[in-house]
Subunit: 400 residues, 2 copies
């Protein structure tokens, strides 16, 4: 048989980078590539107790559930969001999903016709780019600096492309690890309201904030409840295996997403949703998050020190204020995509910068994860990696 | 703000029937509407023990996992499928999903361009119809009798519409409760091979077979491994809350579906997949399924007796050989869609036949579930419902 696939899937084809990184996990390579939390920090006992409470509640806990998800957990989420200033929503405006990845997918499914334009930061979360492209949307990158999208370029792109949506990770962004300034957040919302643009705010890392004294208001807290869809997840604060994220936003859109979700998978794992409810209410979740923050900040500082000490020529590097990632830009003659196979063969992996760009990829950038590797692995891995980058410059090999 | 949605979502809008049935669950109405297993039969202890084993295996069980799902569970599934004669696949050809609903969705996503034709039985599973339409495919119903699709009409529809895919539930179908004959299964496969058509075989109910002496070979067991995508689920045999289904089929298609799944939700709930592995290997799953079959067959027989005793004029009714549903066709003057609100107000709910049809809906049909209500509720509910249908005929009210 010869199979004829739908056109939309050609953007989903496996990339060379993904194929290399798939091998990494199996071979004892020091990996800075994934976006994984550290297994050793998982609150196994708290999760186990939460499940015991679900089972003790009786057999009905194992039945089918409504598409929107377990109501008491949606109430807990509302309370947790209100502490960040997000107060425009009620339970009917919140839907539980299989991670925040499913929110990006369902959002695209209900909003984007082929050819519709969505704006993103450049660089941005690469799996979001893949989703938008799989719906045959046109993804346009907006020039960004360390404070967020540059207003002049945003205005220019709105005028030129008439976008329907904007996708942003304004707090501890993936991959760039930066935080948008309050002013830039307000400017984006102003433009979005003026031009009838819906904003998808992706906030998986917001709780992993190293300096708890600062406040970074989510866009959803600055909005009037009509313009922003907010998504986050329990994957980074509790555990990934429960695959539980959520969306909160204007009911008209959330309702449409719930109808799309019904077609997609009826509902997400309801046992995990019930367990998360008990986990959030019967366990010191905030204390746990503080322990995560302390450990991740320590690892980030070690990685920062190692990167600084390596004296990489032309290095541009910002110290992250939270999240899980460093973003590095190197001398323009270092091609991180072409160097990846050699790095892996020397025992270290990273994600080259190219796939994070919507429009004009930089070949001299890369993303490093600091939450999963131990401090020892960070020290030896950064040494191997930076030596390779320096060698590639000394050899005056120019890849292009 | 004014929201402008994607065109594809207009097929997903809530229907009047769905709105009525949503109310049913909240009001103590006797419901024959859902497709739910009975909570009271759930193997709670077995599931609880299985989770305990996962937690005992250590913290890594809570980490992210590969998109295709937990490998040891895929091995268990291969072994269980081989007992049905499905032997063409290896673990790489099997992917775990959030229920079999997600298989229908991912299959459509990778196969169907807008305007592509997919053939279905008429009537067929209504949530599958919604998915196909949400990808803007053209769904064409093939005339079916109690043995399956009628070969002449299948040949005619293939010639006229040049379909890319066929979707069928050949064993204890939803909604019609019937079983395809072996001959019809072979005829469908022959036609599919000849015309390069991919077949999606949906088999959620295959294990719920009342007469264990008969054998109903799945299409995937009759095929050479190139033409059929087979999907099933643990929702009816273990519990729904784990939301674990699977697809098995030609690697080229399964691989494409796994790339689509990566965009959709990265991976399904991996904790449940690990628990199901322990459940299938450490618990007498087959004994449990036999207990389900015995209880559901008893309920089916009670419903059959009640329906026969009611002497509904013009009733067409086949006794199901397995699964969860009766399909009724009544005197053509009984409009089951229009009568539903009155039925609900009298305390009983069913699903009218109309939404199950791809092409020409029958207004005098309905689907009844017998696995969820108790025997007492079946007896009183069928009495209320059949009296209403008889009344509507006596009044000579003709709805059209």
């Amino acid at each position: 048989m010869k199979y004829s696939f739908a056109n939309r899937i050609y953007s989903l084809q496996s990339s060379a980078v993904r194929d290399i990184l798939k091998v990494v996990n199996q071979e004892g390579v020091i990996s800075f590539a994934g976006g994984l939390p550290d297994d050793q920090l998982f609150p196994l006992e708290g999760i186990e107790e939460a499940f015991a409470k679900v089972f003790a509640s009786g057999k009905h806990a194992l039945q089918y559930m409504e598409t929107e998800g377990y109501l008491p957990l949606r109430e807990v989420i509302l309370e947790r969001m209100s502490r960040k200033g997000i107060t425009n929503y009620t339970t009917k405006d919140v839907m539980l999903t299989t991670g925040s990845q499913q929110v990006i997918d369902l959002f695209s499914r209900v909003m984007l016709n082929p050819g519709d334009v969505i704006l993103t930061e450049d660089p941005t979360y690469l799996a979001a780019l893949q989703v938008f492209k799989s719906y045959e949307a046109r993804v346009i990158g907006v020039a960004s600096d360390e404070d967020g999208m540059i207003p002049e370029d945003l205005a220019h792109k709105i005028k030129e492309y008439k976008p329907k949506c904007v996708y942003v990770v304004p707090t501890f962004s993936n991959p760039a690890g930066k935080v948008w300034s309050l002013e830039r957040r307000k400017q984006l919302l102003q433009a979005a309201h003026k031009h009838n643009i819906v904003v998808l705010e992706d906030d998986p890392y917001g709780d992993l904030q190293f300096n708890r004294e600062e406040t970074y208001a989510p866009l959803a807290a600055l909005d009037d409840g009509t313009c922003v869809l907010y998504t986050s997840t329990f994957s980074k604060t509790a555990v990934p295996a429960l695959r539980t994220g959520w969306v909160a936003g204007p009911f008209q859109i959330v309702r449409m997403m719930s109808q799309a979700k019904q077609a997609n998978d009826l509902h997400s794992n309801s046992l995990s949703q019930q367990a998360l409810y008990h986990f959030c209410t019967g366990f010191d979740m905030d204390g746990h998050i503080n322990r995560l923050i302390a450990e991740y900040e320590k690892r980030m500082n070690v990685m920062y020190r190692c990167l600084k000490e390596a004296n990489l020529p032309g290095l541009k590097l910002t110290k992250p204020k939270g999240g899980m990632f460093f973003w590095l830009e190197l001398d323009e003659h270092v091609n991180t995509t072409l160097l990846l196979p050699e790095a892996v063969s020397r025992g270290v992996a990273y994600v080259p910068g190219e796939p994070f760009f919507a429009t004009l990829p930089k070949t001299n950038a890369l993303r490093l994860n600091f939450s999963h590797p131990t401090i020892e692995k960070i020290e030896s891995g950064i040494t191997i990696m930076t030596e390779l980058f320096k060698e590639s410059l000394q050899k005056e090999v120019i890849y292009s």
